[in-house]
Structure formats: C-alpha cells, structure tokens
C-alpha cells in the first residue's frame, strides 16, 4: 500500500517559518472528505492563495524556484498541533516525499512514516545553511535524501547524516504496513486479552 522510500532526489521548496502547524498545512474546512485523496490542492491554503483564489506570489511555495518541489525545508517544530493525518496526505499529494526541519511534532512524524514521507531531522544551523543555498541557487535547487545511509546531500558540498529510528526506517525502506506487522503477533494479543478480560468487573476493560 505504502510507497517505499529508499532514496529520493528532488527540487527544494524553502519555508523558513517556525511552528508550522497542521491547521496551516491543511485548514479545517478541508477535513470533511471521507477519502485519503483530494487534499493536495488545499495544501497551505490560507498562505498559498489570496482571498480571491489566485496564488499569492509572496508565498514561498509559489516562487518559481519551488516549482515541482518534492523536498520541503522548514523551521523547527514542523507539524505541531492537530493530529490530522490529512496534513501528510496533502503534502504527499502535492508531491513532497521528504520534509527537512530542526524538529517535528511527534504525531506528525508518526503520520509521515505511515505514508512514505520521510521527516528528516537536521541541526538548526544545517537548515539555515540549506535556506541560504536554496536562495543562492537562484532557481531550482536539488537535494538527495538517502534513507538507507541515512544522509542528505546536494552534490555541491552539502553533506550530512541524520539519526532515524531503526524500526520506522525499515518499514519505510520496505514500504511495509504496520498493521500487517502487528498481526504477526496476534496470538500474543489474544493471550494478553484473555488475562485482561478475566480480571474485569462490570466493564469489559476493567
């Protein structure tokens, strides 16, 4: 189901903002869909479009240098706020496969890994450096995110490794579904439940 992530090279969009919350990534008025699709056009809606619906030229993602971007570089605490997985679905549908930031909110990080999007934690100074390099490029700036290594390179001097949870890395590299992994332990769950339900009072879960 999930698209594996081994290595990806793509154009960078720079979003030098802190605490980018999931309400900004996908505003609530777009959470009414019952599908996992259809969220891409609404990504960053209130920043991306002017009130009359035209793209806001001042917004970073609308900059010509970010056209076709698949790697997003942003400030600290990216993805904070609401647990809405719609935020990741919107980023993915827009085309993003990796988000680079000094830190991520926990639930957002987990949601990324369930959808083949890699949250890459880099040092704040490295992120600032990427902002400058992207600006200096004056057009499309490319990065490669290699999850196998795991490292980030730009082919012109920028190279850094990053820490990544071993279990999540393995699931992403192989594009595996966690439910399938958990169900391998179904006998253990059943045994645990038997003990738990036996000790219950009026309520099943006591």
């Amino acid at each position: 189901m999930m698209q594996p992530f081994v290595q990806h090279t793509g154009i960078v969009a720079a979003l030098p903002r802190s605490n980018v919350d999931t309400d900004q990534i996908i505003p609530k008025q777009f959470l009414k869909r019952v599908e996992r699709t259809g969220f891409g056009p609404a990504l960053f809606h209130d920043w991306r479009y002017l009130p009359d619906g035209r793209p806001d030229p001042a917004f970073e993602l609308n900059d010509p240098s970010a056209r076709g971007a698949t790697i997003l570089v942003a400030g600290p605490n990216f993805g904070c706020g609401s647990s809405r997985e719609h935020a990741v679905w919107a980023l993915l549908e827009y085309g993003f496969r990796a988000i680079l930031a000094p830190s991520f909110a926990d639930i957002f990080s987990a949601n990324c890994c369930r959808n083949g999007v890699v949250p890459v934690p880099l040092h704040a100074e490295e992120i600032e450096q990427l902002f400058s390099r992207q600006r200096a490029a004056g057009g499309a700036y490319h990065l490669t995110v290699d999850l196998e290594a795991p490292c980030v390179t730009d082919g012109s001097g920028f190279h850094t490794s990053f820490p990544f949870d071993g279990f999540r890395r393995d699931m992403l590299l192989r594009g595996l579904d966690e439910i399938g992994r958990t169900l391998l332990e179904e006998n253990l769950i059943t045994a645990f439940e038997r003990g738990r339900d036996a000790g219950s009072g009026e309520r099943a879960w006591r």
């Binding site: 802190s18 996992r36 600290p76 879960w205």
Partner: protein, 421 residues
C-alpha cells in the same frame, strides 16, 4: 523493586510484546472515535477485509463537524452531512456504540469520556485527536493518533509505540487567591517556559501542591494543552478528587467492583524516588493571568507585560517568527497587553446557548471569526486562521475571557472581585 512512575506502571501493565526491532506493542483499553479522522480508517478495514477487533472497547461520537444550532433542521453543509452519515454507517456495520446527534449523551469526545465514566485511572486511551491528552487528568495514559493508527487500533486493539521519555512538571506552592489565576494560566505559563517543542518525545506528569489542589475540570484543562508543549500525553496521578468525580458515573464500576477499582487506582501514583528523564519546576504563587500575544501558544506573557519586540529574541528563526506573528496579530512591540480592545464585543454580544460541539475551538462548522476580528479565547490553539481565516486569537483563562467580554478589552481579572460561587 525499583521505584516506578505513574506512566511506567500503566505502560508495564499494557505491553503485550516488546518487538525485537524497537517499539512495544501496547494494548489499548479504550478507543474513542469521531467523524473527522475515522472514515479513511474504516475504508482501510473494508479494503483489507478486516473487522474491528474489540467493538466493546470502542466508543464513537460526533463532535468536530456538527452544527451547534437547531438540530431539528437538516445539516446545511453536504460534505459535513456525508461525513456524519459515514460514521453512522461505520458504527452500525462494525458494531460500535455511537452517540449521535439524537443522543442526549452526544458531546465533545474528550468531555463525554469523563462525563460517562468511560475514562478511568490506569487505562490506556487513544483517539484520532491530539487533545486526547485531556483524559490524562484521570491518571490514564491517553494519546492522540493519526488516521493510520486509528485503523491500526481498530484492527488490532494495539498501538506500536516506541517508549517515550518522561518529564515531571512540578507546580509548587499555591495559586494566588481570589480566583484570578486558573488552571489555564498554569499550563500557559509552563508552555511559555519550556516552549512548544519543550516536551517533544515526552509524556508529562504534572505533580506538586498546586496540581493536587485542582478540581477534575481544572486538571483536564492542564492535561489538554500538554500537546501544545509538544508532549504526546499529560498525566496526573488519581486521588480523592478523581474518585469523587467518578463515583456514580454511568460507566464507572459500582458496588464491590468500585471498591476494588479504587484500591487498584490508589496504587498508581508514582513511587517516592521514581526518576524522570526531565524535570521542570514552576512556583505557582508567581504565576499571573497569562495572555498569548502571538500565533503559537508559547508566545505568551503575563497580562501585566507588554508585547515583545522581535529584537528581544536570540535567533534569526525566532525573530522571523515573532515579526510574522506580530504582523498577523496586528500588534506593535511595547503595547501593554492589558487594555487591548476586543472587537465589537457588545455589538456581537448577543450570547447564544448552543448545543455541544467543537465549534470555534476548531472552526470547522459555521462558527468562525471574521478576518481581523480579535478574540479572547478559552480554547487551546492560537494558530493563524484556527478560529477563522484572519481571526486573531488570544488564549487565556475563562475568567480572563469573561472579564474581557464585560470590559470590551483585555483586562487583568485580579483587579476584579471574583465570587467563588
């Protein structure tokens, strides 16, 4: 035996299996479901031919996207109506108890859990909503999850969870008397101190005399905003206040089972000498009414303070963020917070009694701020556009918000006489 924290005791009792490759398989006692983050999860179950493993441990309600006005009228928004209908169909097809709009028990998911006594000490609780941390007020381990994890819990009644770090947030001393300083001020002060990513990767346990002195509603207020400090969950050890709240609730144990339950719950408190991965202490007696001036909950100050200047901050990133926030909020550095006018309070003050729903806390239904409108808000997020595009939110306690509504501007509620009744 080693001294354990409240968290560790609940964690130990729920680990089904420690996966050799990393995370633990943690059993979920109670799964709360609502209409916005569940339809894609149920669709996943159908696609894979999976059932809900424990419908009896799953409870659904409609809250995020429901009209708070007259419910005898049809729902005007067809997308909202379809989403509510999808939950009704999913609950019926998978055998899940649902409190729908016709039920007198329908309400905000994090309110009805406690109200019905579904939320109990020592439980593991999940919900596809970040503010699930609210239930930690009862000494439960309660976490918000995304839709893929909602599907995972529906299918397996378990969560794959890397063991978090534990932070103790100790509130010593007593709040200033007179009612002007509330639970909201305590949690906002903590977020102001540690920042919105201060507790990332952690579960917070709130301890100390000022926490013990809180009512259950106040404890829920504190735990609710754990997520705004970056934490996965917040928890408070259960005590007599907790037991008194739960006694006699519809789904709480009764009779001999109640006595057994309370005896068990008394064992949950962190042992003396238990260690934490991080600790922060706040002297509650020094906390004044808090007001946010920016667009992130950590951008907060005492009501007696002035709007800061970007130059007051250390890094480029912070200065950029503060400049942006002040522009959005329409505020000038140096402006005293006390005295900020709240727009059109009296013109708009046709207060209305509405039905239960998430309303302006998320702004999904028709209840939203207009562009540029300034709001004294008792909710938990002051993000750009959270309460309506261009809306300017100041987070503060209910007492501060009520006083602002009466005065028509931000005021220091301590100067007012607040009656305890």
């Amino acid at each position: 035996m080693t001294a354990r924290t409240l968290f560790q005791k609940i964690w130990d009792a729920h680990v089904v299996h420690q996966l050799p490759e990393g995370p633990a398989l943690v059993y979920v006692d109670l799964h709360l479901v609502h209409e916005v983050t569940s339809p894609q999860a149920f669709a996943g179950l159908r696609r894979e031919g999976r059932r809900v493993r424990r419908p009896d441990r799953t409870v659904a309600t409609m809250d995020h996207n429901v009209p708070t006005g007259d419910r005898t009228l049809p729902i005007a928004d067809p997308l909202a109506a379809a989403q509510l209908e999808a939950l009704a169909v999913n609950a019926r097809d998978f055998g899940i108890e649902l409190f729908d709009l016709a039920s007198p028990r329908q309400g905000i998911v994090h309110v009805i859990g406690p109200e019905l006594g579904l939320t109990q000490p020592g439980m593991t609780i999940v919900c596809g909503d970040s503010h699930t941390s609210t239930h930690g007020a009862f000494g439960a381990l309660a976490v918000g999850i995304g839709t893929s994890d909602v599907e995972h819990v529906l299918a397996t009644q378990c969560l794959l969870w890397p063991s978090p770090r534990i932070m103790e947030a100790r509130f010593t001393g007593a709040r200033a008397s007179g009612g002007g300083v509330t639970a909201k001020d305590l949690i906002l002060a903590l977020i102001g101190k540690i920042g919105t990513a201060g507790a990332t990767g952690h579960v917070i346990e709130y301890t100390g005399d000022a926490i013990r002195a809180l009512s259950m509603e106040e404890r829920m207020t504190v735990c609710n905003m754990s997520i705004e400090a970056g934490a996965r969950a917040g928890m408070i050890a259960p005590d007599e206040v907790t037991f008194a709240y739960l006694a006699g609730r519809l789904r709480a144990p009764a009779g001999a089972a109640w006595e057994r339950a309370v005896a068990e719950w008394r064992q949950l408190a962190s042992d003396p000498g238990a260690t934490y991965d991080a600790r922060v202490t706040i002297d509650a007696s020094t906390v004044g009414p808090q007001v946010t001036w920016g667009t992130s909950p950590g951008m907060v100050a005492d009501v007696t303070a002035r709007v800061p200047s970007p130059g007051d901050f250390a890094t480029d990133g912070e200065r950029r963020a503060v400049a942006r926030a002040l522009e959005y909020m329409g505020l000038t550095p140096g402006t005293p917070l006390e005295g900020l006018p709240i727009d059109r309070v009296f013109q708009a003050a046709g207060f209305e009694w509405r039905n239960a729903g998430c309303s302006m806390c998320i702004g999904m239904n028709a209840d939203v701020l207009r562009n540029g409108e300034r709001c004294a808000s008792t909710s938990n997020r002051n993000f750009e556009g959270r309460q309506g595009r261009g809306g300017r939110t100041h987070l503060m306690s209910p007492a501060m918000a009520a006083a602002a509504a009466i005065a028509g501007r931000l005021v220091d509620v301590r100067a007012w006489e607040v009656s305890a009744s």
